[in-house]
């Protein structure tokens, strides 16, 4: 195409072996620092706060009172749970962008059970029923994309995305259906009886949330790491051809793991509805399904890294909301800051995998 004289470029990019752990940590630290700086600049631009008080204010928003700390912990757990739910699907390169929908459907089934059975069955039994049903409903919601991906290699990204919108409409339908006051909102379900609500344990409201998330996270970790099925999942992700050669039933592995992924997302909906908001609306998933995709990817499917990243994102989110409300601005500031941070962390991966060689003698090629 270009008929220029051959000239060596200023630099070129070479792949390198995996970076050592201290170097990786250094990269991450520098990246986070840079990202925080840029976010502070943005907040400074909007609110004229100096960066130090920006982060003081953010810290107050996330950990200012013990209630706020608990809310930060609670939301970290929820984001972690959704990220964990995506792991079985993502590890075999099935881009499940449908966590939003699966959460909604899981939450919807939970809300339905709370409404119809909330005052008739003891809460402990009801919680178990809701847990099972929400998992089944979440799995059901991922069934079609899973089957079509396994059989016809249908693009799962778009399929699951579209399922999100179908789920939103179903939720809207039931919100209208249950809403007796024509206000297009269900309100707090079982406000007085607290039927189907997560009980307080040791006087704390969110202990059960944390417990459920921890148990599921550990279970998924063991499944991925030590079980035959988890191993098959990883092989399919690395190379479908290898998996076939090894006699793995690829469509079956895809189907089962996507169903598992959907089931856990459904449980996330259960935790959200029965354990946190006690209501259902099209905002129940609130974009967490998308954020979790990035958390899952950044963590390279390692649940323990996911905890750190989820906590970081939730911290920023709470902090940014605090600043927004201090200044009477809307909460979308947190989306901007999350975006900035994620861009930085995503870019930083490059420096772990590649090396830039600068050419000193830029005259002629060898």
């Amino acid at each position: 195409m270009e008929k220029k004289n051959h000239r060596e470029p200023l630099f070129h990019i070479v792949k390198k072996d995996e970076a050592s752990l201290p170097l990786k940590m250094l990269t991450v630290a520098l990246t986070v620092l840079a990202a925080l700086l840029v976010s502070a600049l943005f907040i400074n631009f909007v609110t004229k706060l100096d960066p130090i008080s920006v982060y003081q204010s953010m810290f107050k928003g996330a950990f200012g009172t013990s209630r706020r700390t608990w809310i930060t912990v609670r939301d970290t757990c929820l984001l972690l749970l959704i990220s964990v739910s995506l792991t079985p699907a993502f590890r075999m390169r099935f881009w499940n962008c449908g966590a939003e929908g699966q959460i909604l459907i899981g939450g919807l089934s939970t809300a339905a059970l709370m409404i119809y059975l909330g005052d008739r069955i003891p809460t402990a039994v009801l919680l178990i029923i809701m847990f099972v049903v929400s998992a089944l409903c979440g799995a059901l919601w991922s069934l079609l994309p899973a089957v079509f991906k396994a059989r016809y290699d249908t693009n799962e990204t778009l399929f699951t995305l579209m399922m999100n919108y179908v789920a939103i409409q179903i939720v809207e339908f039931f919100v209208d259906f249950w809403d007796k006051k024509q206000s297009h909102s269900v309100g707090i379900i079982n406000m007085n009886t607290m039927g189907g609500w997560f009980p307080k344990i040791f006087g704390q409201q969110y202990i059960l949330n944390v417990l459920i998330v921890v148990v599921i996270t550990v279970a998924v970790y063991i499944y991925m790491r030590y079980s035959k099925h988890g191993y098959e999942d990883a092989v399919v992700g690395e190379s479908v051809a290898t998996a076939r050669y090894a006699g793995i039933n690829v469509p079956k592995v895809i189907r089962n793991n996507v169903l598992l992924s959907g089931a856990i997302s459904g449980i996330a909906g259960f935790v959200e509805v029965a354990g946190i908001s006690h209501t259902i609306s099209n905002e129940t998933a609130g974009g967490r399904g998308f954020t979790a995709i990035i958390v899952c990817w950044l963590a390279k499917f390692n649940p323990f890294t996911m905890i750190l990243i989820s906590a970081f994102i939730v911290f920023l989110d709470k902090g940014a909301s605090q600043i927004s409300s201090d200044f009477g601005l809307n909460e979308y500031a947190s989306n901007i800051i999350t975006g900035i941070i994620l861009f930085f962390i995503l870019s930083s991966e490059f420096f772990n995998n590649y090396r830039i060689t600068v050419h000193k003698n830029r005259k002629e090629g060898e």
Binding site: E2, F148, Y152, T338, L346
Partner: protein
């Protein structure tokens, strides 16, 4: 259903379709070069908010704003802002080789944040009160066609009662179709998307093509956002994430059209018809269904009708993947980054 209702349904569908047509054309260019940009909703929102901010600043700083100047400034700011978003995407995915899905989704989160933050707070940030409205600039985008508007009966009122960007989208669809199939640059671009290593060996500058495709594609997507803000919602802003839903439909439309912009000309309008169907499906049907399902009110059915565009997309998606005709498939290297040393 009367004639006037049919007219208003089609008019609404065409306005709606134009938003996603821009998004679809832009994303097609990007995908043809191998870039699966899931940031379309984000780019559209960035493009939309850029135009709104620009029009707002212009209208509030000049005592007697001119629609034409406002329009040109809007176009310029949208193109610049969405090109920057495209640049960010291509820098991350092409140069830094970050996963495309993740980068795109982050761009969507970021774009949603930027658009709704500034859209919702612009009044507050500039010290005013009330909701934002840029009627003067918007009027330039919504000006009807001279000579044709108001003639040719029913067909005329469906076809000729739109702002000029509707027709630009149509022309652009055919131009891009021609560009991708009949020009050397277009064929090179497709080669990059099908097999970057071969294209590289043939002397095509893969990096440059990917960058330019992403930049041009994003600019066109941004125009979709601009059209949404200036024409569809008439120069106002609502924090309802409606553009985001439209952006995903635009991505779906790319597959629906099997990567052929000419198909977007009717596909987009078809999506529009499906999207607005919930208003135009006769009440008798809703009442009948509502009675069958023992609903309190027939309007509840509208929630279910609103699924239509998404279900249509799903059905098409499945049908296309089941048939697997070669010419309807995605570019082979779609979604993968290219690293020379790895061939």
């Amino acid at each position: 259903m009367g004639v006037s209702q049919i007219i208003s349904w089609f008019v609404a569908a065409i306005t709606f379709g134009t938003v996603i047509m821009y998004g679809c054309i832009g994303e097609t260019i990007n995908q043809k070069a191998g870039g699966l940009n899931l940031g379309v909703p984000g780019v559209m929102q960035i493009g939309g908010i850029a135009s709104l901010a620009c029009a707002f600043l212009y209208e509030s700083s000049v005592s007697n704003p001119s629609p034409i100047v406002g329009m040109l400034l809007c176009l310029l700011s949208t193109l610049i802002a969405s090109a920057l978003a495209g640049l960010l995407y291509s820098f991350l995915t092409v140069t830094l080789k970050v996963n495309q899905n993740v980068t795109g989704l982050t761009l969507t989160i970021f774009g949603t944040g930027v658009a709704n933050f500034f859209g919702g707070n612009m009044m507050k940030l500039s010290g005013g009160v009330g909701t934002i409205s840029v009627a003067v600039t918007s009027s330039a985008f919504r000006a009807k066609l001279p000579f044709l508007f108001g003639r040719f009966g029913t067909v005329g009122s469906i076809l000729f009662s739109h702002g000029w960007m509707v027709y630009v989208a149509l022309i652009m669809a055919f131009l891009i179709q021609y560009f991708l199939n009949r020009t050397r640059t277009g064929l090179n671009l497709r080669a990059v998307g099908e097999n970057p290593a071969t294209a590289d060996a043939a002397g095509i500058n893969v990096t440059r093509y990917k960058y330019l495709a992403s930049l041009t594609g994003s600019m066109i997507c941004g125009l979709g956002g601009l059209f949404y803000v200036m024409d569809y919602i008439k120069g106002t802003w609502a924090n309802d994430s409606a553009i985001e839903a439209l952006g995903w439909l635009a991505v779906a439309l790319v597959i629906f059209t099997s990567w052929k912009p000419k198909n977007a000309t009717w596909g987009a309008y078809l999506f529009g018809l499906c999207y607005w169907a919930y208003i135009y499906i006769p009440m008798e049907i809703s009442r009948f269904l509502a009675a069958k399902m023992k609903l309190q009110s027939a309007t509840y059915m509208q929630n279910l009708y609103k699924m239509l565009p998404y279900i249509v997309t799903i059905v098409v998606l499945c049908a296309v993947s089941k048939r697997k005709k070669k010419e309807n498939l995605a570019p082979s290297s779609l979604g993968q980054s290219y690293f020379r040393e790895e061939r």
